[in-house]
Amino acid sequence: MESESGLSERYEIKGGDFSRAGTISTTIKRILQEIGIPPDIITRTAIAAYEAEMNVVMYADEAVVTLNLTPEAIHININDKGPGIVDIDLAMKEGFSTATAKMREMGFGAGMGLPNIKRNADKFMISSVVGKGTTYDIILYLDGKE
């Protein structure tokens, strides 16, 4: 959907669907390339989106992803339904992970996901309710400023 003020897209992720894991991040990346966003911002956005997408596939039941693009910023909001995160501060620490063997076989679950999102985003907000789900807000500014 395109309007004068920007672009808004909505996607759905199914938890546990490893075969399709990464397709939404790839789509977001392609959209940003088509629009002509600077390559370094595209790469950082794609990495953050991919890590968040993998988190949903690995841990949640389902999620809705909203991409909002304005002249000032890229905003990705992910709202998942799932077990939630008990201790977000702990989950943000590099190396902390509750991943299963199956997740590690996929090359993920090394406790790097959330720190990687934070590293690549200009602003990263995460909140969670145990037993309900987790919300991620990933923002990258296009003019390099907030």
Binding site: K29, T43, R44, M106, G107, F108, M112
Partner: protein
């Protein structure tokens, strides 16, 4: 080094991307952890990995890697190769182990990658 030279020194098989072998590779990095690759990866990276599922290809696409070399004779499944073709990512497979693969390329002057994007 070009991907073609890398193919020669690693005695590698080209799984897809024959037409991309003249691409100049400036640096490489090896890992089986895709989150690590996403943490250290930079556009242009040659990814050396033993992880053969399609996430290796997707990760390479996300960071704009120049290609993937699978070590220890490993090869991705057909789905991974198909995905790489669609994404234009050349895939090679070498019989050398990870350590030896890294050592050969490093000794030929191919640099590693150390700095993150931000």
């Amino acid at each position: 080094m070009t991907l073609r030279e890398i193919k020669e020194v690693l005695k590698a098989e080209v799984l897809c991307g024959e037409d991309s072998l003249d691409v100049e590779i400036l640096f490489a990095g090896g890992s089986d952890l895709m989150s690590d690759v996403l943490a250290f990866g930079k556009p242009g990276l040659l990814l050396l990995t033993g992880l053969t599922n399609s996430q290796s290809v997707r990760t390479a696409n996300i960071i704009d890697a120049s290609g993937i070399v699978y070590v220890r004779g490993k090869k991705p499944d057909e789905e991974g190769i198909k995905l790489a073709r669609e994404m234009g990512i050349p895939l090679l497979s070498t019989g050398f182990m990870m350590y030896t693969t890294c050592g050969i390329l490093y000794s030929k002057g191919l640099a590693g990658v150390a700095k993150s994007l931000k």
